[in-house]
Structures are given as C-alpha cells and as structure tokens.
C-alpha cells in the first residue's frame, strides 16, 4: 500500500465513523432475529458478512420464521436489494479508472452508506485514491455490521419476550423508509407497497410482499414519472444517508 493509498483509506474510515453507531442496534436486532429463527451464531456471522444487507436479511428471516417457501424468502431479499442497482449505476462513472478486478471487490460493499458517502467525495474530487477511500468507508462498516449481528445472535434467545424486541424490526424499517418518501412518487410507492402488503397477507406462498413492492414501484412510476426534484420537500441532507437525487448528472 502506498502512502497515498493509506491516507485515502484513513480519510474514508474517518468519514464513515459517524455512520457506524446506528448500525450496532440494527445488527443486534438482525442477530436476535436470526437466533430466534434457530440459527447458530456462526451461521449468523457468515450470512451477515456475505449478504451485507440488513433490511434484506431481516426480511428473509421474517419470512423464514413464518415458514414461507425458501425461494420466496430469497426473491424477497433480492427485491429489497434492487435499489443497489441504482447505486451501482450512480457510482460507476466515478470509478472508471479502477481496474475491473477491483470493481468486482467494490461491488461487494455497495450499499446505502458506502454509496451516500463515496459519490459526493468523488464528485468533489476530494481524494487522490478512490479505491482506497472507498475501502476505508466499507471495511469498518462491514466489520461493525458483521460483529453486531454475531453479538445479537449470541445474546439471542436469552432476551425476555416481555421486552418485545421483535418490534424493533418494523421500527428499523420505518427509519430506513422515511428518507425515501420525500417526493410524490415515493409517497405513492410507499402507500401502494404498504397497503398492498397488508391486503396480500393471505396470498399463496407469502408472495404478498414481492407483489406489493413491485406494484408500488409501478404505480409510483405512473404517478410521478420524472421524480420531481421540487425544492418544497428538500431538506438539508444532514446525515448523508440519503442518496443523491440524480447520481448520473455530474461526472468527474
């Protein structure tokens, strides 16, 4: 590692630091849910490390816990993760100089936080080594995530049911949801997705969630095809968790 790369890595690590604490309770909840499903902490460890996607893993665990078909659980996880395709398209123009082999590695760590923190830094041309900076963001986040899930899975079933920790799951989803309903399309997509999922609770094979989510996207697209970037709902993007409105607009 050159000294440029090392300092870029440290810069990335410094930038991701404020985003780490929120991932601890999230990881613990996923770990506890995994334990309640009957998973061994070691399984929780490698599955969290491999999937590296909290909402998707939680959705999978919820479905598996109520004995939905395994294929539907997998499908649901992938649908929940479809948003990463948007991040992939948004990040791509900024890492053209990175080798294909390294882009395979960067892809593995792509999620809301790494996207939201890397693209603005790359756009402002803040770092001389984008690969190292990105890895500086990604590695601490990945470690925090994987260790939190494992800790939750080890505590797991010891936690008293009276605490109702299962309720933390929808609360976390809610916290992730809210930044995404700032424009009309988002509101419509959320309304159709949510109501559709409730209406689809009796659907065969527990496909309700997948169908409702896709219907939400479809109706949201009809209602607001352009993604009106009106300033009325625009709030200062304080925590940097929100993806940029048009990631492909500006190129390096």
């Amino acid at each position: 590692m050159t000294s440029t790369a090392r300092s870029a890595f440290v810069d990335g690590a410094r930038a991701v630091l404020p985003a780490l604490p929120a991932n601890v309770p999230f990881g613990l909840v996923v770990g506890v849910a995994a334990a309640n499903l009957g998973l061994h902490p070691v399984t929780a460890l490698w599955s969290a490390g491999l999937l590296f996607a909290g909402a998707a893993q939680l959705a999978m665990i919820e479905l598996l816990a109520r004995d939905a078909p395994v294929v539907v659980a997998v499908l649901t996880a992938i649908v929940v993760n479809l948003r990463y395709a948007m991040y992939s398209a948004g990040l791509a123009p900024y890492v053209r100089s990175v080798s294909r082999r390294w882009r395979l590695v960067l892809s593995f760590f792509l999620l809301d936080v790494t996207y939201a923190l890397s693209v603005p830094a790359f756009r402002a041309d803040e770092t001389p080594d984008r690969r190292a900076y990105y890895l500086g963001l990604a590695v601490p986040l990945w470690l925090t995530w994987t260790l939190s899930v494992t800790a939750g899975a080890s505590l797991g079933t010891e936690l008293p049911p009276a605490w109702h920790l299962e309720f933390a799951i929808p609360l976390l989803f809610l916290a992730l949801l809210v930044p995404n309903v700032r424009d009309r399309g988002g509101v419509v997509a959320a309304a159709v997705g949510g109501v559709g999922a409730v209406a689809g609770l009796g659907m065969p094979f527990d496909l309700g969630l997948v169908v409702a989510a896709l219907a939400g996207v479809g109706v949201g697209l009809l209602a607001d095809p352009e993604g009106s970037d009106e300033p009325d709902g625009a709030e200062p993007d304080a925590d940097g968790m929100e993806p940029d409105d048009d990631p492909t607009e500006a190129e390096p």
């Binding site: 598996l64 809610l174 939400g216």
Partner: protein
C-alpha cells in the same frame, strides 16, 4: 423457529447473497454503457426502497398476527416512531421512541 433444515437455510442465504451481488455489480462491472440507463429504469429503481420498505413495515404494525388490528399499542408506537423518524431521520431515535412508547402503553 423454522421447519427448513440448516443446509436449506444456508443455501438460501448464499443464493440471496449471490443475487444481491449481481445487482450490486450490475453497472459497475457487467454492463459496459452506464450512460445509457434509461431514465425510466433509473426512476423505477429509485422507487424500490419506498415500496419495499413500506411493504415490510405496514403489515408488522397493523397486522402483526396476520389479521388487521388497528387500535393496538403497536400501531400507536409505530405512529410515534414515524413522527420521530420524520423529524430526526435517526435510526437510534426512531428505535428509542417506538420501543419506549410500546413499553409505556403495555405498562399502563
């Protein structure tokens, strides 16, 4: 608990991880021409989080046991948490407000 055996669960997590990896690498590695992502597709992907997350949240708030139940501590606590999430956009505060409200209502 689940009736699926361990190897089946392992395969499920691996399959989900592989599928998610393909989504993540889609434009970074697989497709050559990033500039040609149709605006429609991009907009559709933009709406996925709202639709998918709402589809995850709402049933666990209004029908945690599988049938609709609107006047419950969970719905109230979810409402408070939504307001806090809207104001703060903080995961920790949302969690604290929702769990706190639920515990309070259940204790009353």
């Amino acid at each position: 608990m689940t009736s699926a055996s361990d190897p089946v669960l392992w395969a499920a997590f691996v399959a989900a991880a592989v599928g998610s990896y393909l989504v993540r690498s889609s434009f970074l590695v697989l497709f050559r021409r990033v500039d040609e992502v149709p605006a429609r597709v991009e907009r559709a992907l933009e709406l996925v989080p709202a639709a998918a997350l709402a589809a995850l949240v709402l049933p666990s708030l209004v029908a945690p046991e599988g049938s609709l139940a609107l006047l419950t501590p969970k719905v109230a606590a979810g409402g408070v948490a939504a307001a806090v999430a809207w104001r703060t956009e903080s995961m920790a505060w949302t969690l604290a407000a929702g769990m706190g409200t639920l515990w309070l209502l259940l204790a009353l």
